[in-house]
Structures are given as structure tokens and as C-alpha cells.
């Protein structure tokens, strides 16, 4: 699996973090992060709570601002220039732990809003694309409902479809299944696996180790704001190098 996935991942870097540092006040959340993601690569990020996983991926689409180092996405360097930020956000989709669908809009409106207003796609075309992706996540019949009328798993699949409607080059997932009831985790993971198979560049913060083994090209372990270890899945799980990684893996695999 990882051999074919590695072949999919061509040489060009899509995301490159160099000596990235971030502080919340005096608190050093991200410490000298060096991290590169090539086109088509799937990265799973794991680590204890508070280790800075969310903060790191939120820096990539500027939901959080870094203070030192450089961050280049798809050849565009993230600076305070609003133009660059908007350009990067158009190319980077994000799926949140709590879905963050717009409750006052129908599912279809949730999906077409950004394509229409940001990408300037005509409404009919945007709706067609939306229906295409709703079919992909297997809930086309919910198009005219409001998010509040759907189950958690369905809402998260709508959220994934909403990001895909922008035709992003990169997808970021921040614990997409951890707010879901156990029986709904699988339907969301299946959607993500499918997406991975199609060659999307993905960074997923998740503790679903089955997912990591199935699709990840690399698993990255973070602790206390640092990348402690980064390896291909089988080496990462079978032969972790760092003590902290070993401790973390023993904790999450033993229950």
C-alpha cells in the first residue's frame, strides 16, 4: 500500500514549513517545526492533547498566525498579505472536529456558497458540483434539509463535501471523527479513505490508527510543540524510535 501511495506522491512539495515557531503569549506552542508535504501525500498527525497538532494545521490556512519561520503552500508564501491568504484558502480545504456547517443554510446552500462567492462559479454549475459531491459522500437525498436535521456522521460528510466543492488541492482534517458516536465513525473514515485513494494531498490529525495504517504515507508524532518522530506507518507502529512515541502508542493502543 505505502509503495503505491509513495509512487502517487510526486516530488513537488505542496506544503513546506521551515523553522516555524508560534507562541500564545509566553506559551511556546510550536517549536522549530520543519515539515514538508509532497503532492499526493497523506500525512497522519498524532500526539497527546495540547501538543499543538491543531495549531500546526491551522497555521497552514492561516486560522492561526505563526510568528517565526516560513510557511509555503502551493508555491505561495504565507505572509500578512491578504491576497496570499485568500489565494491559499481557496486551495486548502478544512474539515473540523465539530463540522461547523452553517445551520441557517440548507445542505445545498452550504455547499454552493463558497464556490459561488469565492470562485465566482455560476449558480447552476455550483449546484451541479454540489450534487456530484453529495452523491460521492452518499447523501444526495439530504440536499434540501438543514444541517440540524442530519446525524453527526451525515453532517461531517456534508462538511467534507463542502470543502471538496471548492476543488481544493490540499485537505486538512482536524480530528474529524472524534465528536462522532462510534457507529458513525466508519462512514466518515470510508469517505476519507476514498478521497485518499483518488490522490488528494491530505493532512489528518486523528487517533484512528487503523486509518493511519491503511492510507498514510507518513505518520507524524508531535509532543509539546515539537515533531518528535515521523516515519512510514509500519515502521512507526512496529518500531518506534523515541521513548515518548513508545509511551504514547502504548497508551492509545492499549485501550
Amino acid at each position: 500500500m505505502s509503495a503505491t501511495a509513495a509512487a502517487q506522491a510526486s516530488g513537488e512539495p505542496m506544503i513546506k514549513l521551515t523553522k516555524l515557531n508560534k507562541w500564545y503569549g509566553d506559551f511556546h506552542v510550536l517549536k522549530n517545526i520543519d515539515f514538508e508535504v509532497r503532492k499526493g501525500e497523506k500525512i497522519v498527525v498524532c500526539g497527546p492533547s495540547g501538543s499543538g497538532k491543531s495549531t500546526m494545521i491551522r497555521c497552514i490556512n492561516r486560522l492561526e498566525e505563526h510568528q517565526q519561520g516560513t510557511l509555503v503552500v502551493d508555491g505561495i508564501e504565507l505572509t500578512n498579505d491578504l491576497k496570499n491568504i485568500e489565494a491559499i484558502r481557496r486551495e486548502v480545504g478544512m474539515v473540523f472536529q465539530h463540522f461547523n456547517l452553517f445551520p441557517h443554510l440548507t445542505v445545498l446552500e452550504n455547499l454552493t456558497l463558497a464556490p459561488i462567492w469565492v470562485r465566482k462559479v455560476p449558480k447552476a454549475e455550483a449546484e451541479e458540483t454540489a450534487m456530484f459531491y453529495l452523491k460521492r459522500v452518499r447523501i444526495p437525498e439530504q440536499a434540501h434539509k438543514y444541517p440540524g436535521q442530519l446525524s453527526g456522521g451525515q453532517q461531517q460528510r456534508v462538511a467534507i463535501a463542502r470543502s471538496l466543492c471548492m476543488k481544493p488541492k490540499i485537505m486538512l482534517f482536524d480530528e474529524p471523527t472524534s465528536a462522532l458516536d462510534p457507529e458513525m465513525v466508519k462512514e466518515v473514515l470510508d469517505t476519507m479513505v476514498e478521497l485518499a485513494r483518488e490522490g488528494m494531498t491530505m493532512i489528518c490529525v486523528t487517533h484512528e490508527m487503523g486509518f493511519a495504517k491503511a492510507v498514510a504515507d507518513r505518520v507524524v508524532f508531535m509532543d509539546k510543540g515539537e515533531i518528535v518522530e515521523s516515519n512510514v506507518p509500519h515502521a512507526f507502529f512496529d518500531n518506534p524510535q523515541n521513548e515518548r512515541t513508545k509511551l504514547f502508542l502504548s497508551q492509545i493502543l492499549n485501550h
Binding site: 484558502r89 461547523n100 452553517f102 462567492w117 469565492v118
Partner: protein, 365 residues
């Protein structure tokens, strides 16, 4: 679906509580409740026993001031209203031209009712308002189409109240949204300006805002530049209401989960797109009740323009009640005018409840 038996279409039982059961359940459910019911009932009955003979049976409904004088102390003088209605409604507007403010008031009411109907919420509404306000402007000012010109100093009565309230609400609302957004802005200059404006205006009574607008503001203007007293009062009311409303709107902005802002950002929406399509529609819905509260307050506060010598409907009535032959009917005058205010405010309140239900329909499964 297959496993569900045919009884699936059973409805929840319709409750058939009879009037007597209702009384027992709501008014006499315990000894304490029964005692309270009796005490409150006694107070209501005593009040009505005092009011009804005075306000209904012995009241003078039509006629002259002399007939009222004869009934003084025994019956109410409702005849005050038919005798003085033109002054109350139109105040000092030229007598022969009273049809103009009358038509203007009717136009206002038409605009309210028209706008209240949801089917009319489309682009045409803008034209209807533009047309309606143009008509009102022509009627009130005159000077065209053979109508004589009437300066704003002579405007008064109901139409003045409606003008001040309508423009007050219509302009304070967008200003309040800008102030609320500005107060949460990351740009220090914008933020400071908005905070200063809101706190300054909120920190003083409306009366002093109006007084400053009318007396002090002209002192800062260059020699020879004047601008209308009514306009100054209107601006004062707009500023005052917008400062209050801004804080109401800010409450809504803060109550919205952070995830909504983040999702809008992550999708690449610009600041104004996110505000217009994601944030404000949700934030404003959440604050409909306190917003309407402020609107109602503004509607009633318009009567404070008395301080700068404008005669709105309440002050026109008070002026009419100061005529020698009509002196001493304060209770009747205030009762009647209160009733009129109540009709407007109650309509606003009821309508807002309906809008709230409609807007929050998506929340219900």
C-alpha cells in the same frame, strides 16, 4: 421501515382539558395558589369597579368643554379627543393643509404593513419604500405640484412621531451593525473610535443628546451654516439608538460559536462576505427580542423632542390639554395617548415574535 407496525401513524393524544379543569389546574391548584387568585381577583375587580363607571357609564364621549365640566369628578372627558383631534394629530401644520400629514401618516402605516408581509420581501420592497418616502417628503415639504411650502418648524403630531421613529430605526440599525463590527475589529483605530462613540452616547441621557444636538452643535458650525432643528433631533435619536443597538448586536456576534467564523475563513470568504452571509444572519436572529426592545424604546423616546420645542403626538396632546377650557383632564389625555402608543408597540412586539419563530424554523427538527 419494515419493522414498524401499522400503529406508526398514531397521533399524540389531543388534550381535552375543559374550562373547569383549566381553572382548577391553573388558579386553584393549592391553598397558596387559591389565596393568591382571590387577592389578585379582588384587586382587579375593585380597579374595574372604580374605572368602569368613570370611564364608561358616566363618561362624556362627545360634546363641548362645558359638558365635560358638568361631569367633572364623576365621568371621564373623552370628548377631549373628538374636540382636539386635529391638533393632536397634526399640531401646528397649516390648518387647511392637514390632509397632507394625514396622507403621509397613512402612507407610513401602509409601508409598515406592506413590509410586514414576507411575500413582499424582495427587490421591489426597496422601490416601494423609495416611492413611499418620496411621497411623504412631497406631502410634508410641499413647494412642488402647487402645494404650498411648509417648513419643518411647523411639522408636528403623529406624523412627526412616525418620521422620527421610522428614520430612527431604519438608520440606527445599519449604523449599529457597523459600530458592533467596529468594536470587534482588529484595527485599533477603528475599535477605539467605535468604543468611544458607544460609551459616550450610552453614558448620557437622550434628553441631553437632543439638547446638545439642538443647542450646542450649531455653535461648532461655521458662521451662517444652519441646519434644520428637526434634522438635528433626528440625528440625535439615530446616534442614541445606534449606541444601544450596537451593544445588542455585539451580544449576538459574541454568542455565535467561533467555529462559524473559522469555517467561513477556511472556505476563503472575505470579511464582508462572511459577515453578510454567515455571521450577521445568525447573530441578528439570536438578538431579535432585545433588538425589538430597543426599537420600542426608541419609538417612545421620540416624545423627548419636546425638550427642543418639537411637538410630537404626545406633546401636541399635552399642549391641547393646556387650553384653558380643557384644563384638568390629564388622566384622560394620557390614557388616550398611551393607548395609541400601545397599539404601535404591541404590534411591533407581536410581529417580532412571529418573525422570530419563522427565522428559527431551521433549528427545529
Amino acid at each position: 421501515m419494515a419493522g414498524i407496525p401499522a400503529t406508526a401513524d398514531l397521533r399524540p393524544p389531543v388534550s381535552q382539558i375543559k374550562a373547569l379543569d383549566w381553572l382548577r389546574a391553573n388558579l386553584f391548584s393549592s391553598w397558596a395558589n387559591t389565596a393568591l387568585t382571590l387577592v389578585v381577583g379582588y384587586v382587579i375587580v375593585r380597579t374595574l369597579m372604580g374605572f368602569i363607571p368613570w370611564g364608561v357609564f358616566n363618561a362624556v364621549w362627545t360634546g363641548s368643554a362645558d359638558e365635560c365640566k358638568a361631569a367633572k369628578g364623576v365621568g371621564a372627558c373623552w370628548a377631549f379627543f373628538p374636540a382636539n383631534w386635529r391638533f393632536i394629530l397634526f399640531a401646528t401644520f397649516p390648518y387647511e393643509e392637514h390632509w397632507r400629514p394625514a396622507l403621509a401618516s397613512v402612507t407610513f402605516v401602509f409601508l409598515y404593513v406592506f413590509s410586514a408581509i414576507r411575500a413582499n420581501w424582495n427587490a421591489r420592497l426597496v422601490y416601494v419604500w423609495a416611492g413611499g418616502l418620496a411621497l411623504i417628503g412631497v406631502l410634508m415639504f410641499g413647494g412642488v405640484f402647487g402645494l404650498s411650502f411648509v417648513a419643518t418648524e411647523r411639522w408636528g403630531g403623529l406624523v412627526l412621531t412616525l418620521i422620527l421613529a421610522t428614520f430612527g430605526i431604519a438608520l440606527a440599525f445599519p449604523l449599529a451593525i457597523l459600530l458592533a463590527l467596529g468594536r470587534r475589529s482588529h484595527m485599533p483605530a477603528v475599535k477605539t473610535l467605535c468604543v468611544a462613540f458607544i460609551e459616550l452616547i450610552r453614558g448620557v441621557p437622550l434628553i441631553s443628546v437632543l439638547f446638545m444636538a439642538s443647542v450646542m452643535f450649531p455653535l461648532f458650525l461655521p458662521e451662517g451654516v444652519t441646519f434644520d432643528k428637526l434634522l438635528r433631533a433626528q440625528v440625535g435619536i439615530i446616534f442614541f439608538a445606534s449606541a444601544y443597538l450596537a451593544e445588542v448586536v455585539r451580544g449576538g456576534l459574541q454568542a455565535l460559536p467561533k467555529g462559524q467564523y473559522e469555517a467561513a475563513d477556511a472556505l476563503g470568504l472575505s470579511y464582508w462576505q462572511a459577515m453578510r452571509m454567515i455571521v450577521l444572519p445568525q447573530a441578528l436572529r439570536m438578538v431579535i427580542p432585545p433588538m425589538v426592545n430597543t426599537f420600542i424604546g426608541l419609538f417612545k423616546d421620540t416624545s423627548l423632542v419636546l425638550i427642543i420645542g418639537l411637538l410630537d403626538v404626545l406633546n401636541a396632546a399635552k399642549t391641547a390639554a393646556a387650553q384653558p377650557e380643557w384644563r384638568g383632564y390629564g388622566p384622560e389625555v394620557y390614557f388616550g395617548i398611551s393607548l395609541m402608543y400601545f397599539v404601535f408597540c404591541f404590534a411591533m412586539s407581536k410581529y417580532s415574535q412571529q418573525v422570530e419563530v419563522e427565522f428559527n424554523r431551521h433549528k427545529h427538527r
